[in-house]
Amino acid sequence: MLTISVDNETTASGDGIAVMRLDGELDAATYLDVIGRARELVDGGTTRMLLDLSDLSYMGSSGLFALHSLAMLLRGEAAPDPEGGWGAMHQAEMRETAAELKLLNPQPQVDRVLERTGMKRFFEVHVDRAAAIASF
C-alpha cells in the first residue's frame, strides 16, 4: 500500500517545486503509480521535485527504477520502459547527480538500498525540508 500526496512549494526566488510525499511501501505493485503521478505533474509544467521519503517504510528495486524514471521525466526525457527492465534505459543515461530531483529524509532501509546499489550518488539527499526546497 502506497499513498502519494503532492504539495506545491515556492523557493525564495519564486520558483515552483513539487514536493511528492510517499507514505507506505514502494514495490513492484506500486512503482508505476509513482511514475504515473510524476508524469501528470511534468505534463502540468513541473520541472523540479523534492521526493519526501520520510514515511516510506520499504523500497524494493522497483523503487529504484521509479526514481530513475522520475529524474528522466523531470529532465524532459522519456522514462524508460518498465517492460524492458534496466536494459531499456538507452536514452535514460544518468552519469551525474540529478539537479531536478532531490530526496528528503530516506529511512534506514531505503537509504541502505540506495547505498548498496550505487544509486545514492545520483541524488542529493536532504534531511530538512526547508533547506531542501531552498537548495533548488
Partner: protein, 154 residues
C-alpha cells in the same frame, strides 16, 4: 557451549497467487515468521527484501504476469534462517545472473539484475534447484547471536 545447545528447527509456510499485488502480504508473512522464529530486526529486514526481490522476479519474469502460484516456507535451523520459494514457472536460475557493475550507468546494467544483486548481498547463500514442478530457490541468512543484539540498535 554452542555445541550443547539443543538443535532448533521450526518452519512456517504460505501459498499465494503470483501477483505483484500480493507482495506486501508476502513481506508481512516473512517478517512475522522471522519474528516468531526469534530472528533480530536487521536480519529480518534483509531476508524480507531478498524474498521480495526474488518473488518479484518470479511473478514478473517467470510467470510473466500470467498468474500461477508461489509457495514460501520460512524455517529456522539453529543459527540460520532459511526461506524456500517454490513456483511452477518456466525454468529460471537467478543464481546464474551476472553481478551488475555498479560503476556502469544504469542503462548498461542487465534487466532484473538489481533485484538479484540485492538478494545476493542481503543473504549468505542462494541455492537454485530445478524441480519436476518448476523452480525452487533457497535463501539462507546466518543469524549470529552478536548480530541479533546489534540489530536491535538499528
Amino acid at each position: 557451549m554452542r555445541g550443547m545447545v539443543e538443535r532448533l528447527a521450526r518452519s512456517l509456510e504460505m501459498k499465494l497467487p503470483a501477483d505483484v499485488g500480493r507482495l506486501a502480504e508476502l513481506r508481512a508473512f516473512v517478517r512475522r515468521s522471522s519474528a516468531d522464529l526469534d530472528v533480530g530486526r536487521h536480519a529480518t529486514n534483509d531476508i524480507v527484501q531478498a524474498v521480495d526481490e526474488c518473488a518479484t522476479n518470479v511473478i514478473v519474469h517467470g510467470y510473466r504476469g500470467a498468474g500461477g502460484e508461489l509457495r514460501v516456507e520460512v524455517e529456522r535451523v539453529d543459527d540460520e534462517l532459511i526461506v524456500r520459494l517454490s513456483d511452477r514457472a518456466p525454468a529460471f536460475d537467478p543464481t546464474s545472473v551476472p553481478e551488475p557493475d555498479l560503476e556502469l550507468p544504469l542503462e548498461r546494467r542487465p534487466p532484473g539484475g538489481m533485484g538479484v544483486y540485492l538478494a545476493r548481498r542481503l543473504t549468505d547463500a542462494m541455492q537454485y534447484r530445478r524441480t519436476r514442478a518448476g523452480n525452487e530457490l533457497t535463501l539462507i541468512k546466518g543469524i549470529t547471536e552478536g548480530s541479533q543484539h546489534a540489530d536491535d540498535q538499528r
